[in-house]
Protein backbone atom coordinates (compact mmCIF):
# COMPACT_ATOMS: atom_id res chain seq x y z
CA UNK A 1 0.00 0.00 0.00
CA UNK A 2 1.30 3.36 -1.02
CA UNK A 3 0.20 5.25 2.11
CA UNK A 4 1.97 2.93 4.56
CA UNK A 5 5.22 3.35 2.73
CA UNK A 6 4.75 7.14 2.81
CA UNK A 7 4.17 7.12 6.58
CA UNK A 8 7.03 4.69 7.10
CA UNK A 9 9.46 6.79 5.11
CA UNK A 10 8.28 9.99 6.86
CA UNK A 11 8.61 8.49 10.35
CA UNK A 12 11.87 10.35 11.07
CA UNK A 13 10.06 13.64 10.30
CA UNK A 14 7.19 12.69 12.61
CA UNK A 15 9.72 11.72 15.28
CA UNK A 16 11.29 15.18 15.07
CA UNK A 17 7.83 16.67 15.54
CA UNK A 18 7.12 14.37 18.49
CA UNK A 19 10.34 15.41 20.21
CA UNK A 20 9.48 19.09 19.76
CA UNK A 21 5.96 18.47 21.08
CA UNK A 22 7.28 16.63 24.14
CA UNK A 23 9.79 19.39 24.80
CA UNK A 24 7.05 21.99 24.52
CA UNK A 25 4.65 20.02 26.73
CA UNK A 26 7.32 19.50 29.39
CA UNK A 27 8.26 23.16 29.27
CA UNK A 28 4.77 24.57 29.39
CA UNK A 29 3.60 22.15 32.11
CA UNK A 30 6.61 23.02 34.26
CA UNK A 31 6.14 26.74 33.72
CA UNK A 32 2.40 26.36 34.36
CA UNK A 33 3.10 24.27 37.46
CA UNK A 34 5.39 26.83 39.08
CA UNK A 35 3.15 29.75 38.18
CA UNK A 36 -0.04 27.83 39.01
CA UNK A 37 1.26 26.71 42.40
CA UNK A 38 2.35 30.27 43.21
CA UNK A 39 -1.02 31.65 42.15
CA UNK A 40 -2.88 29.03 44.22
CA UNK A 41 -0.82 29.90 47.32
CA UNK A 42 -1.35 33.63 46.79
CA UNK A 43 -5.05 33.17 46.22
CA UNK A 44 -5.57 31.05 49.34
CA UNK A 45 -3.01 32.47 51.77
CA UNK A 46 -2.55 36.01 50.45
CA UNK A 47 -4.35 38.98 51.95
CA UNK A 48 -7.62 40.17 50.45
CA UNK A 49 -6.10 42.40 47.77
CA UNK A 50 -3.47 39.91 46.63
CA UNK A 51 -6.06 37.16 46.58
CA UNK A 52 -8.45 39.26 44.48
CA UNK A 53 -5.75 40.25 41.99
CA UNK A 54 -4.56 36.66 41.60
CA UNK A 55 -8.09 35.43 41.15
CA UNK A 56 -8.66 38.07 38.46
CA UNK A 57 -5.49 37.06 36.58
CA UNK A 58 -6.54 33.42 36.73
CA UNK A 59 -9.96 34.18 35.30
CA UNK A 60 -8.43 36.43 32.64
CA UNK A 61 -6.02 33.73 31.46
CA UNK A 62 -8.85 31.26 31.59
CA UNK A 63 -11.03 33.37 29.33
CA UNK A 64 -8.57 33.95 26.50
CA UNK A 65 -8.23 31.35 23.73
CA UNK A 66 -4.80 29.77 23.66
CA UNK A 67 -4.31 30.63 20.01
CA UNK A 68 -4.72 34.33 20.83
CA UNK A 69 -2.28 34.07 23.74
CA UNK A 70 0.19 32.41 21.37
CA UNK A 71 -0.14 35.20 18.81
CA UNK A 72 0.01 37.92 21.48
CA UNK A 73 3.23 36.57 22.93
CA UNK A 74 4.71 35.92 19.50
CA UNK A 75 4.03 39.45 18.26
CA UNK A 76 5.51 41.15 21.31
CA UNK A 77 7.80 43.90 20.04
CA UNK A 78 11.01 41.91 20.43
CA UNK A 79 12.43 38.74 18.94
CA UNK A 80 11.56 35.57 20.69
CA UNK A 81 12.46 32.00 19.99
CA UNK A 82 9.20 30.26 18.92
CA UNK A 83 9.71 27.50 21.48
CA UNK A 84 10.05 30.04 24.31
CA UNK A 85 7.04 31.97 23.02
CA UNK A 86 4.94 28.81 22.89
CA UNK A 87 6.04 27.71 26.37
CA UNK A 88 5.12 31.11 27.80
CA UNK A 89 1.77 31.43 26.02
CA UNK A 90 0.52 27.89 26.59
CA UNK A 91 2.14 27.81 30.05
CA UNK A 92 0.24 30.94 31.06
CA UNK A 93 -3.00 29.33 30.04
CA UNK A 94 -2.09 26.08 31.76
CA UNK A 95 -1.15 27.97 34.94
CA UNK A 96 -4.75 29.15 35.25
CA UNK A 97 -6.02 25.58 35.11
CA UNK A 98 -3.28 24.22 37.33
CA UNK A 99 -3.77 26.93 39.96
CA UNK A 100 -7.43 25.95 40.10
CA UNK A 101 -6.43 22.32 40.69
CA UNK A 102 -3.96 23.25 43.45
CA UNK A 103 -6.36 25.74 45.02
CA UNK A 104 -8.99 23.04 45.30
CA UNK A 105 -6.42 20.71 46.84
CA UNK A 106 -5.30 23.30 49.42
CA UNK A 107 -8.89 24.04 50.38
CA UNK A 108 -9.61 20.38 50.97
CA UNK A 109 -6.71 19.94 53.41
CA UNK A 110 -8.17 19.59 56.91
CA UNK A 111 -7.14 22.85 58.65
CA UNK A 112 -7.07 21.08 62.03
CA UNK A 113 -3.74 19.44 61.23
CA UNK A 114 -2.21 22.81 60.36
CA UNK A 115 -3.44 24.12 63.67
CA UNK A 116 -1.94 21.09 65.42
CA UNK A 117 1.40 21.77 63.73
CA UNK A 118 1.25 25.42 64.79
CA UNK A 119 0.47 24.35 68.35
CA UNK A 120 3.61 22.18 68.28
CA UNK A 121 5.68 25.21 67.35
CA UNK A 122 6.32 24.34 63.71
CA UNK A 123 7.46 27.32 61.63
CA UNK A 124 5.17 28.43 58.80
CA UNK A 125 7.53 27.45 55.99
CA UNK A 126 7.89 23.99 57.51
CA UNK A 127 4.10 23.64 57.67
CA UNK A 128 4.07 24.44 53.96
CA UNK A 129 6.89 22.02 53.18
CA UNK A 130 5.97 19.06 55.36
CA UNK A 131 2.17 19.19 55.49
CA UNK A 132 0.62 21.34 52.78
CA UNK A 133 2.82 20.52 49.78
CA UNK A 134 2.82 16.73 50.22
CA UNK A 135 -0.94 16.72 50.56
CA UNK A 136 -1.39 19.00 47.52
CA UNK A 137 0.61 16.44 45.53
CA UNK A 138 -1.54 13.52 46.65
CA UNK A 139 -4.79 15.41 46.14
CA UNK A 140 -3.98 16.93 42.76
CA UNK A 141 -2.16 14.20 40.84
CA UNK A 142 -5.49 12.85 39.53
CA UNK A 143 -6.92 16.13 38.20
CA UNK A 144 -3.45 17.13 37.07
CA UNK A 145 -3.36 14.08 34.78
CA UNK A 146 -6.35 15.54 32.93
CA UNK A 147 -4.53 18.83 32.51
CA UNK A 148 -1.52 16.92 31.20
CA UNK A 149 -3.70 15.22 28.59
CA UNK A 150 -5.21 18.47 27.35
CA UNK A 151 -1.84 20.16 27.15
CA UNK A 152 -0.30 17.34 25.10
CA UNK A 153 -3.08 17.91 22.60
CA UNK A 154 -2.83 21.69 22.82
CA UNK A 155 0.80 21.61 21.71
CA UNK A 156 -0.74 21.18 18.25
CA UNK A 157 -1.61 24.89 18.36
CA UNK A 158 2.02 25.94 18.51
CA UNK A 159 2.41 25.67 14.74
CA UNK A 160 0.96 29.20 14.53
CA UNK A 161 4.17 30.62 15.98
CA UNK A 162 6.24 28.54 13.58
CA UNK A 163 7.16 25.65 15.81
CA UNK A 164 7.68 22.54 13.75
CA UNK A 165 5.78 20.13 15.96
CA UNK A 166 3.64 17.17 14.97
CA UNK A 167 0.95 19.14 13.13
CA UNK A 168 3.38 21.31 11.21
CA UNK A 169 5.33 18.19 10.22
CA UNK A 170 2.08 16.58 9.08
CA UNK A 171 1.32 19.58 6.84
CA UNK A 172 4.84 19.52 5.37
CA UNK A 173 4.53 15.84 4.63
CA UNK A 174 1.16 16.34 2.98
CA UNK A 175 2.61 19.11 0.85
CA UNK A 176 5.65 17.29 -0.47
CA UNK A 177 4.02 13.89 -0.89
CA UNK A 178 1.19 15.52 -2.86
CA UNK A 179 -1.91 14.66 -0.88
CA UNK A 180 -2.64 11.82 1.55
CA UNK A 181 -4.23 14.41 3.87
CA UNK A 182 -6.70 12.05 5.46
CA UNK A 183 -4.17 9.31 6.21
CA UNK A 184 -1.47 11.69 7.44
CA UNK A 185 -3.81 13.60 9.78
CA UNK A 186 -5.20 10.30 11.00
CA UNK A 187 -1.68 9.14 11.80
CA UNK A 188 -0.94 12.45 13.58
CA UNK A 189 -4.09 11.94 15.66
CA UNK A 190 -2.88 8.45 16.52
CA UNK A 191 0.42 9.89 17.74
CA UNK A 192 -1.38 12.27 20.14
CA UNK A 193 -3.51 9.41 21.39
CA UNK A 194 -0.48 7.24 22.10
CA UNK A 195 1.41 10.08 23.83
CA UNK A 196 -1.61 10.82 26.03
CA UNK A 197 -2.06 7.15 26.85
CA UNK A 198 1.59 6.70 27.84
CA UNK A 199 1.52 9.83 29.96
CA UNK A 200 -1.69 8.84 31.72
CA UNK A 201 -0.29 5.40 32.51
CA UNK A 202 2.77 7.00 34.09
CA UNK A 203 0.73 9.46 36.15
CA UNK A 204 -1.71 6.79 37.31
CA UNK A 205 1.34 4.85 38.55
CA UNK A 206 2.50 7.96 40.41
CA UNK A 207 -0.99 8.35 41.88
CA UNK A 208 -0.80 4.77 43.15
CA UNK A 209 2.63 5.40 44.66
CA UNK A 210 1.57 8.58 46.45
CA UNK A 211 -1.76 7.28 47.70
CA UNK A 212 -2.28 6.59 51.40
CA UNK A 213 -5.43 5.46 53.22
CA UNK A 214 -7.75 8.35 53.94
CA UNK A 215 -7.35 9.96 50.54
CA UNK A 216 -9.84 9.37 47.77
CA UNK A 217 -8.74 7.73 44.60
CA UNK A 218 -10.06 9.67 41.69
CA UNK A 219 -9.69 6.89 39.19
CA UNK A 220 -12.71 4.96 37.94
Amino acid sequence: MHIFSVILSELPQFLKGILIAIKLAAGLLTFGFILGMTMAMLEVFGNKIISKITSFIRKLLWGIPQIILLLLVFYLPFDMNPMIAAIIALGLCSSAFQSQIFRGAILSIDPGQIEAAKAMGLKSWKILLYIILPQIMILSVGPWTNEFSSEIKDTSLAYVVGLIEIMRQARYIITYTYGNSLAIFFFAGLIYFVLTKIGNTIFFKIEDLLWVPGFEKRRE
Binding site: D110, G112, Q113, E115, A116, A117, K118, A119, M120, G121, L122, K123, K126, Y130, I131, P134, Q135, I138, V212, P213, G214, F215
Partner: protein, 249 residues
Amino acid sequence: MPITLQVENLKKSFGNLEVLKKVSFNLEKGKTMVVIGPSGSGKSTLLRCINQLTPPDSGSVVLDGIELTNNKTDLNEARSEIGFVFQNFNLITHLNVLGNVSFGPLRVKGKSKKDSNDIAMEELKKVGLEDKAFSYPAELSGGQQQRVSIARALALNPKLILFDEPTSALDPELIGEVLDVIIKLAKEGMTSLIVTHEMGFARSIADEAIFLENGIILEKGPPKDLFSNPKNKRTMDFLQKISQLYGEE
Protein backbone atom coordinates in the same frame (compact mmCIF):
# COMPACT_ATOMS: atom_id res chain seq x y z
CA MET B 1 6.04 22.71 94.32
CA PRO B 2 7.27 25.11 91.63
CA ILE B 3 4.65 26.72 89.44
CA THR B 4 4.63 25.50 85.84
CA LEU B 5 1.86 27.65 84.43
CA GLN B 6 0.90 31.08 85.58
CA VAL B 7 -2.13 32.76 84.01
CA GLU B 8 -2.88 36.29 85.02
CA ASN B 9 -5.79 38.59 84.13
CA LEU B 10 -6.36 36.89 80.79
CA LYS B 11 -8.90 38.74 78.67
CA LYS B 12 -10.29 37.93 75.26
CA SER B 13 -13.19 39.33 73.29
CA PHE B 14 -14.56 38.39 69.90
CA GLY B 15 -16.20 41.57 68.67
CA ASN B 16 -18.55 42.66 71.42
CA LEU B 17 -18.56 39.27 73.06
CA GLU B 18 -16.28 39.07 76.08
CA VAL B 19 -15.27 35.43 76.21
CA LEU B 20 -12.65 35.65 78.95
CA LYS B 21 -12.85 38.29 81.66
CA LYS B 22 -9.71 38.54 83.76
CA VAL B 23 -8.99 34.87 84.27
CA SER B 24 -6.14 34.10 86.66
CA PHE B 25 -4.81 30.88 88.13
CA ASN B 26 -1.61 28.97 88.79
CA LEU B 27 -0.85 25.37 87.97
CA GLU B 28 1.85 23.64 89.95
CA LYS B 29 4.36 21.26 88.41
CA GLY B 30 3.08 17.70 88.25
CA LYS B 31 -0.50 18.64 89.04
CA THR B 32 -3.66 18.04 87.07
CA MET B 33 -6.23 20.76 86.81
CA VAL B 34 -9.64 20.31 85.23
CA VAL B 35 -11.78 23.06 83.80
CA ILE B 36 -15.52 22.51 83.79
CA GLY B 37 -18.36 24.76 82.82
CA PRO B 38 -21.27 25.12 80.41
CA SER B 39 -20.80 25.42 76.64
CA GLY B 40 -19.72 28.87 75.59
CA SER B 41 -18.19 29.62 78.96
CA GLY B 42 -14.77 30.19 77.39
CA LYS B 43 -13.08 26.88 78.30
CA SER B 44 -11.64 26.15 74.86
CA THR B 45 -10.72 29.80 74.33
CA LEU B 46 -8.82 29.67 77.61
CA LEU B 47 -6.68 26.77 76.38
CA ARG B 48 -6.13 28.40 73.01
CA CYS B 49 -5.12 31.66 74.68
CA ILE B 50 -2.56 29.82 76.77
CA ASN B 51 -0.53 28.60 73.79
CA GLN B 52 -1.46 31.70 71.77
CA LEU B 53 -3.33 29.86 69.02
CA THR B 54 -5.83 32.58 69.86
CA PRO B 55 -3.81 35.57 71.09
CA PRO B 56 -5.43 37.09 74.18
CA ASP B 57 -6.30 40.80 74.25
CA SER B 58 -4.49 41.37 77.53
CA GLY B 59 -3.07 39.55 80.50
CA SER B 60 -0.12 37.25 80.72
CA VAL B 61 0.70 33.57 80.36
CA VAL B 62 3.98 32.38 81.84
CA LEU B 63 5.25 28.84 81.30
CA ASP B 64 8.15 27.89 83.52
CA GLY B 65 9.42 31.46 83.70
CA ILE B 66 8.92 32.22 80.01
CA GLU B 67 6.20 34.69 79.15
CA LEU B 68 4.31 33.55 76.06
CA THR B 69 2.38 36.81 75.88
CA ASN B 70 5.61 38.78 75.49
CA ASN B 71 6.30 39.75 71.87
CA LYS B 72 10.01 39.11 72.31
CA THR B 73 9.48 35.47 73.23
CA ASP B 74 10.17 32.94 70.48
CA LEU B 75 6.63 31.65 70.33
CA ASN B 76 7.45 28.53 68.31
CA GLU B 77 10.06 27.49 70.83
CA ALA B 78 7.68 28.12 73.72
CA ARG B 79 4.92 26.16 71.99
CA SER B 80 7.21 23.20 71.49
CA GLU B 81 7.18 22.82 75.30
CA ILE B 82 3.39 22.50 75.36
CA GLY B 83 1.46 19.49 74.18
CA PHE B 84 -2.02 20.17 72.81
CA VAL B 85 -4.62 17.44 72.48
CA PHE B 86 -7.56 18.51 70.33
CA GLN B 87 -11.15 17.39 70.44
CA ASN B 88 -10.91 16.24 66.81
CA PHE B 89 -7.42 14.68 67.11
CA ASN B 90 -6.07 16.67 64.15
CA LEU B 91 -3.58 14.04 63.08
CA ILE B 92 -1.61 14.67 59.91
CA THR B 93 -3.53 12.67 57.32
CA HIS B 94 -0.75 11.77 54.90
CA LEU B 95 1.60 10.44 57.57
CA ASN B 96 1.29 7.09 59.29
CA VAL B 97 1.11 6.79 63.08
CA LEU B 98 4.89 6.65 63.47
CA GLY B 99 5.24 9.67 61.17
CA ASN B 100 2.72 11.60 63.22
CA VAL B 101 4.28 10.85 66.59
CA SER B 102 7.86 11.38 65.40
CA PHE B 103 6.85 14.61 63.63
CA GLY B 104 7.49 16.85 66.65
CA PRO B 105 10.99 15.56 67.51
CA LEU B 106 11.96 15.39 63.81
CA ARG B 107 10.51 18.58 62.35
CA VAL B 108 10.12 20.85 65.39
CA LYS B 109 13.03 19.84 67.59
CA GLY B 110 15.33 18.88 64.73
CA LYS B 111 16.34 15.49 66.08
CA SER B 112 17.64 12.75 63.78
CA LYS B 113 15.23 10.39 62.06
CA LYS B 114 16.40 7.46 64.16
CA ASP B 115 16.12 9.29 67.48
CA SER B 116 12.71 10.64 66.52
CA ASN B 117 11.45 7.18 65.63
CA ASP B 118 12.82 5.75 68.89
CA ILE B 119 11.05 8.46 70.88
CA ALA B 120 7.86 7.86 68.89
CA MET B 121 7.90 4.09 69.51
CA GLU B 122 8.49 4.73 73.20
CA GLU B 123 5.46 7.04 73.44
CA LEU B 124 3.33 4.70 71.34
CA LYS B 125 4.07 1.94 73.85
CA LYS B 126 2.80 4.23 76.59
CA VAL B 127 -0.56 4.60 74.89
CA GLY B 128 -0.63 0.93 73.88
CA LEU B 129 -0.47 1.43 70.13
CA GLU B 130 3.01 0.30 69.12
CA ASP B 131 1.42 -2.35 66.88
CA LYS B 132 -0.33 0.41 64.91
CA ALA B 133 2.87 2.31 64.10
CA PHE B 134 2.51 1.74 60.38
CA SER B 135 -1.24 2.30 60.11
CA TYR B 136 -2.64 5.56 58.79
CA PRO B 137 -4.98 7.78 60.83
CA ALA B 138 -7.93 6.94 58.55
CA GLU B 139 -7.52 3.27 59.46
CA LEU B 140 -7.88 3.87 63.20
CA SER B 141 -10.89 4.27 65.48
CA GLY B 142 -11.49 7.64 67.11
CA GLY B 143 -10.17 6.36 70.42
CA GLN B 144 -7.00 5.10 68.78
CA GLN B 145 -6.54 8.38 66.91
CA GLN B 146 -6.86 10.31 70.15
CA ARG B 147 -4.30 8.04 71.83
CA VAL B 148 -1.95 8.68 68.90
CA SER B 149 -2.45 12.39 69.36
CA ILE B 150 -1.61 12.04 73.05
CA ALA B 151 1.55 10.13 72.09
CA ARG B 152 2.34 12.93 69.65
CA ALA B 153 2.01 15.48 72.45
CA LEU B 154 4.23 13.37 74.72
CA ALA B 155 6.91 13.03 72.04
CA LEU B 156 7.64 16.74 72.43
CA ASN B 157 8.63 15.97 76.02
CA PRO B 158 6.40 18.87 77.07
CA LYS B 159 6.30 20.75 80.35
CA LEU B 160 2.53 20.92 80.12
CA ILE B 161 -0.22 19.22 78.16
CA LEU B 162 -3.46 21.01 77.34
CA PHE B 163 -6.43 18.73 76.70
CA ASP B 164 -9.36 20.35 74.90
CA GLU B 165 -12.37 18.09 75.50
CA PRO B 166 -10.36 15.03 74.49
CA THR B 167 -13.31 12.63 74.56
CA SER B 168 -16.13 14.81 73.23
CA ALA B 169 -15.80 13.56 69.65
CA LEU B 170 -15.69 9.90 70.63
CA ASP B 171 -18.30 7.17 70.63
CA PRO B 172 -19.21 6.33 74.23
CA GLU B 173 -17.52 2.93 74.14
CA LEU B 174 -14.21 4.48 73.09
CA ILE B 175 -14.04 7.11 75.83
CA GLY B 176 -12.65 4.74 78.46
CA GLU B 177 -9.44 3.86 76.63
CA VAL B 178 -8.56 7.55 76.20
CA LEU B 179 -9.40 8.48 79.80
CA ASP B 180 -7.26 5.56 81.04
CA VAL B 181 -4.25 6.96 79.20
CA ILE B 182 -4.80 10.45 80.60
CA ILE B 183 -5.21 9.07 84.12
CA LYS B 184 -1.97 7.12 83.73
CA LEU B 185 -0.14 10.28 82.65
CA ALA B 186 -1.54 12.25 85.58
CA LYS B 187 -0.33 9.56 87.96
CA GLU B 188 3.12 9.74 86.40
CA GLY B 189 3.19 13.44 87.23
CA MET B 190 2.52 15.02 83.84
CA THR B 191 1.38 18.61 84.39
CA SER B 192 -2.00 18.80 82.69
CA LEU B 193 -4.82 21.23 82.14
CA ILE B 194 -7.94 19.42 81.02
CA VAL B 195 -11.21 20.80 79.70
CA THR B 196 -13.79 18.06 80.03
CA HIS B 197 -17.45 17.22 80.39
CA GLU B 198 -16.69 13.84 81.96
CA MET B 199 -17.49 14.71 85.55
CA GLY B 200 -16.62 11.35 87.10
CA PHE B 201 -13.26 11.43 85.37
CA ALA B 202 -12.71 15.08 86.31
CA ARG B 203 -13.45 14.35 89.91
CA SER B 204 -11.18 11.34 90.14
CA ILE B 205 -8.20 12.76 88.27
CA ALA B 206 -8.02 16.41 89.30
CA ASP B 207 -5.82 17.90 91.97
CA GLU B 208 -7.70 21.09 91.44
CA ALA B 209 -10.86 22.03 89.57
CA ILE B 210 -12.06 25.28 88.06
CA PHE B 211 -15.66 26.13 87.27
CA LEU B 212 -15.76 28.65 84.46
CA GLU B 213 -18.86 30.51 83.44
CA ASN B 214 -19.25 33.51 81.15
CA GLY B 215 -15.51 33.96 81.09
CA ILE B 216 -15.13 34.15 84.86
CA ILE B 217 -13.76 31.59 87.30
CA LEU B 218 -16.77 31.26 89.59
CA GLU B 219 -15.26 28.64 91.79
CA LYS B 220 -11.91 26.96 92.24
CA GLY B 221 -10.74 24.28 94.62
CA PRO B 222 -10.00 20.63 95.27
CA PRO B 223 -12.46 18.45 93.35
CA LYS B 224 -14.00 16.92 96.46
CA ASP B 225 -15.09 20.37 97.58
CA LEU B 226 -16.08 21.72 94.22
CA PHE B 227 -18.03 18.63 93.15
CA SER B 228 -19.58 17.65 96.48
CA ASN B 229 -19.97 20.97 98.24
CA PRO B 230 -20.09 23.71 95.67
CA LYS B 231 -20.26 27.11 97.32
CA ASN B 232 -21.63 28.90 94.33
CA LYS B 233 -25.22 28.39 93.31
CA ARG B 234 -24.35 28.39 89.59
CA THR B 235 -21.84 25.59 90.13
CA MET B 236 -24.48 23.63 91.98
CA ASP B 237 -27.02 24.11 89.18
CA PHE B 238 -24.50 23.11 86.54
CA LEU B 239 -23.43 19.95 88.35
CA GLN B 240 -27.04 19.02 88.94
CA LYS B 241 -27.91 19.46 85.28
CA ILE B 242 -24.94 17.36 84.24
CA SER B 243 -25.78 14.60 86.67
CA GLN B 244 -29.35 14.52 85.40
CA LEU B 245 -28.02 14.16 81.88
CA TYR B 246 -25.40 11.53 82.51
CA GLY B 247 -26.54 9.98 85.79
CA GLU B 248 -24.82 10.07 89.17
CA GLU B 249 -21.20 9.02 89.23
